[in-house]
């Protein structure tokens, strides 16, 4: 059986780090082949070698049985290999048409000829059922549509081998379904697809075979329909994963955080990004706000913590009205915040570990005296956090945080926020982009908070995380809370329906 792609014994080294160690991948024509592995396993690196972004130190690549040497994306393109990256490569103020033709424009004496291109794009759009508006600007269309533009880019230059890098990370459940359909359509038309993912559910749904990588090494290739999720994940991680967290039932105390009728308007319109939201977060429980990205949860947290001004409503912390208080005051009143974007808000990347450790507390008497910093105290504190929270870094408390791995950066933030002994921890997507080890650790710490009688409010997009860790789930849809659920009483599919707005909870019916 001839393989359309063969990557044999590929080794890729950066400096003295082996990103890929003797990895082999064989893809059949007309199949959807999944590439599974944790973050850092080497999946993206392997595809970058195929796509010509990197050159392998050892190994060979064969396309349709012929040995090839892919030195850059142009070579890859000439071999009809195309790639949809996880972070779209689209220019915000180009039109869809311009984006599709960029790099392969039809020209006459250097001048752009748009009509031929337009015709071809419309043809492709019809044939593969990829609906788009050719003259719309990229910044004005949805993420799902942007992804379709990326797919059309590949089809426009007659790519037969299509690589998708974590394509569902940015899509809503509906868009994911549509993408699965599109992939099946593409395969029907004779394309071969490689699909990088760490989401077992999706691999199960659409892939024929799956190759698993772990820490740069090839673990195995399996037939998806005859392999269980547990088996695949064990190959991915190297040990059995407990998908269900052990949770003791806790005594629920009084409310630490009460949010009443919170409303935040969008900047340039009258639309309510956060719409009359009310809820409580109580001692000894983990409340999860679940929702599809873009339904107001980010703004809700910004409003509660003070990063964004609110239009209406009250925020009450331990019985005190802190609606109008500064961010500093809320922090002093025992509200801790593990932010959504650890690089933007959570850390000052060019500071070292100890400077980041006291980011929220540098002004306290234990760290300063009449404005002069007590450097020894800061150092000792950082050392303590490193030890207690197992934070790994190149140079301990003097490491520049930028050089730490994402997992350890997040651990630092979690350590800093929890060590302050807050009454409520607000954690937004606390395990995003982290590998299983770091994820397990952070979940453990959040559970500890709950078991110690603190309140925990988690905002998450990962349905598994939401179902496993929370005591209560609030679903947010279009800025409003539409359901208050108990995870034991629902299924993941049902939760998805609530998140998509197709179902509303009791007491949360839409007002006529």
């Amino acid at each position: 059986m001839e393989y359309v792609i063969e990557m044999n014994h590929i080794t890729k080294i950066f400096g003295d780090f082996k990103a890929l160690d003797d990895v082999t991948l064989k893809v059949k024509k007309g199949e959807v082949h999944a590439l599974l592995g944790e973050n850092g396993a080497g999946k993206s690196t392997l595809m970058s070698v195929l796509f010509g972004l990197y050159q392998a130190e050892k190994g060979e690549v064969k396309i349709n049985g012929n040995h090839v040497n892919i030195k850059n994306p142009n070579d890859a393109n000439n071999l009809n290999i195309g790639m949809v990256h996880q972070h779209f490569k689209l220019v915000h103020n180009f039109t869809v048409l311009e984006s599709i033709v960029l790099g392969r424009e039809t020209v006459k004496a250097g001048f752009l000829k748009k009509d031929d291109a337009r015709k071809k794009v419309m043809e492709l759009s019809d044939r593969y059922k990829l609906k788009i508006d050719v003259d719309a600007f990229i910044s004005d269309i949805t993420v799902g549509m942007q992804q379709r533009v990326e797919i059309l880019k590949m089809l426009y230059c007659d790519n037969d081998i299509l690589i998708f890098d974590e394509p569902t990370a940015v899509l809503t459940p509906q868009e994911i379904e549509e993408l699965m359909k599109i992939m099946k359509e593409l395969v029907n038309e004779g394309k071969s697809i490689i699909f990088i993912s760490h989401k077992l559910n999706e691999i199960k749904e659409v892939a024929d075979r799956c190759t698993i990588l772990r820490k740069g090494k090839y673990i195995g290739t399996v037939d998806v329909s005859s392999t269980t999720k547990e088996e695949m994940s064990e190959m991915m991680v190297g040990r059995k994963i407990n998908f269900n967290l052990e949770k003791e039932v806790q005594q629920i105390g009084n409310a630490v955080l009460e949010v009443k009728n919170l409303t935040i308007k969008a900047k340039n319109s009258q639309k309510n990004v956060v719409n009359n939201v009310s809820f409580e977060a109580r001692r000894g429980e983990i409340v999860c706000i679940a929702g599809i990205d873009g339904n107001g949860q980010s703004e809700l947290v910004y409003g509660i913590t003070g990063l964004m001004p609110i239009n209406e409503g009250k925020i009450i912390l331990n019985g005190k009205d802190v609606t109008k208080e500064s961010i500093r005051k809320k922090s002093v009143e025992k509200m801790a915040h593990i932010p959504e974007d650890r690089h933007k808000h959570g850390l000052v990347l060019d500071f070292d570990l100890q400077e980041n450790a006291v980011l929220q507390t540098y002004y306290e008497p234990r760290f300063q005296n009449h404005g002069l910093i007590k450097f020894n105290a800061v150092k000792e504190y950082a050392k303590k956090l490193i030890k207690q929270y197992d934070i790994r870094s190149p140079r301990e408390e003097e490491s520049i945080v930028r050089n730490m791995s994402g997992g350890n950066q997040q651990k630092l933030i979690v350590a800093r926020e929890i060590d302050r002994n807050p009454d409520i921890v607000i954690a937004v997507q606390p395990t995003r982009g982290l590998d299983i080890g770091a994820t397990e650790y952070i979940h453990k710490k959040l559970l500890e908070q709950r078991d110690n009688g603190k309140a925990v409010l988690i905002i998450s997009l990962e349905l598994d995380e939401v179902m496993n860790i929370s005591d209560r789930i609030l679903v947010i849809y279009e800025g409003a809370i539409v359901a208050d659920l108990v995870p034991e009483e629902i299924t993941v599919k049902e939760l998805g329906l609530y998140m998509a707005g197709s179902k509303r909870g009791v007491n949360y019916e839409e007002k006529a």
Binding site: P73, N93, G103, G110, F111
Partner: protein, 317 residues
């Protein structure tokens, strides 16, 4: 009415160099490289080309000499800007600092060489390029006196450059790719475009135009070059920003600033201005204040190329 013509003609002398240099800045910045060395490149271009005129003005004269000088100025500017291009693109240096270095170097160089060669730092030249009236076109009512009398060939070159720039940026493959490199170089790279090459092109174009702009600035307004272009390079940056990096708006901005400069410089020669209680220093300030105002209100919706100033590193993903 004569005053109007006078103002219009003077405005040309000020607006055209601003236009040319600002368009140069546009090419560089829209490819992703901030170029605040426009001032220094103008000085370099003016210095070499005016020295050229000075050397050859005994054997040549008129438009021939000027056109050759324009070519020399462009070539000089292009070469000098390579320093900035190399530092910014290959070495991924801080572009503001690299630009500042060029700005400091150029006038010192001009003074040094001039004094070593001819003893004094001013370079004189004879103005044999002035066109008092273009045959036929100069007689058209209204447009004639404004555009075709009391002018220089560089005015028409400038307008030609403006039209070409608009066409190139918006209607050619090169323009499309250049814009991609300035907004999202990873996107351009992923479709096989050589971002480095395009950025080099962008910076070199800005160098060529800034060099020409230096010459075009000096010729109508003086009979010697004194190692300075009086901050025009920075004013051109203001034109670029005021014009939100778009050709048509840059055109308008250049003329607006040009008129202000005319008011400031020809203050005493314009009757209605003399009567107003506004000192000429105010007119000098207006372009800068106007830019500040525009910046304040448009920074949220700025059309600045999103990737400008950030060195492109192929390895980073």
């Amino acid at each position: 009415m004569d005053t109007v013509y006078f103002i219009a003609q003077q405005t040309m002398y000020f607006a055209i160099p601003l236009l040319i240099v600002a368009l140069g800045g546009m090419f560089s910045e829209r490819s992703g490289i901030i170029n605040i060395a426009l001032e220094g490149i103008m000085v370099m271009g003016a210095f070499i080309s005016i020295s050229f005129i000075n050397i050859f003005q005994d054997s040549m004269s008129g438009q021939q000499l000027l056109i050759l000088a324009v070519l020399v100025a462009g070539l000089t500017g292009g070469l000098f800007s390579l320093l900035h291009a190399f530092a910014s693109i290959k070495l991924k240096a801080d572009q503001t600092i690299s630009g500042t270095a060029l700005n400091l170097f150029a006038p010192a160089f001009a003074i040094f060489v001039a004094r070593m060669v001819q003893g004094v730092q001013q370079i004189q030249f004879k103005d044999t390029f002035h066109i008092s009236k273009v045959p036929f076109l100069g007689d058209i009512p209204l447009i004639g006196p404004i555009l075709f009398q009391n002018s220089y060939i560089t005015t028409y070159i400038g307008i030609g450059i403006a039209i070409m720039s608009w066409v190139i940026i918006n209607h050619t493959r090169f323009g499309l790719r250049l814009r991609a490199c300035g907004e999202h170089p990873q996107a351009a790279d992923s479709v096989g475009i050589n971002v480095y090459k395009i950025r080099y092109a962008g910076v070199i174009i800005s160098g060529v135009l800034a060099g020409i702009g230096g010459l075009v600035f000096v010729v109508p307004t003086s009979t010697n070059f004194n190692a300075s272009v009086a901050g025009y390079g920075f004013l051109a940056l203001a034109v670029l920003i005021f014009g939100q990096w778009r050709t048509k708006r840059i055109f308008i901005a250049a003329f607006f600033f040009g008129i202000m400069k005319t008011f400031a410089a020809a203050y005493s020669g314009i009757p209605f201005l003399k009567d107003l209680p506004i000192s000429n220093e105010v007119y000098k300030m207006i372009p800068y204040i106007a830019t500040l105002v525009v910046l304040t209100f448009s920074s949220k919706n700025s059309q600045a190329p999103r990737a400008e100033g950030i060195p492109y590193d192929k390895g980073s993903r």
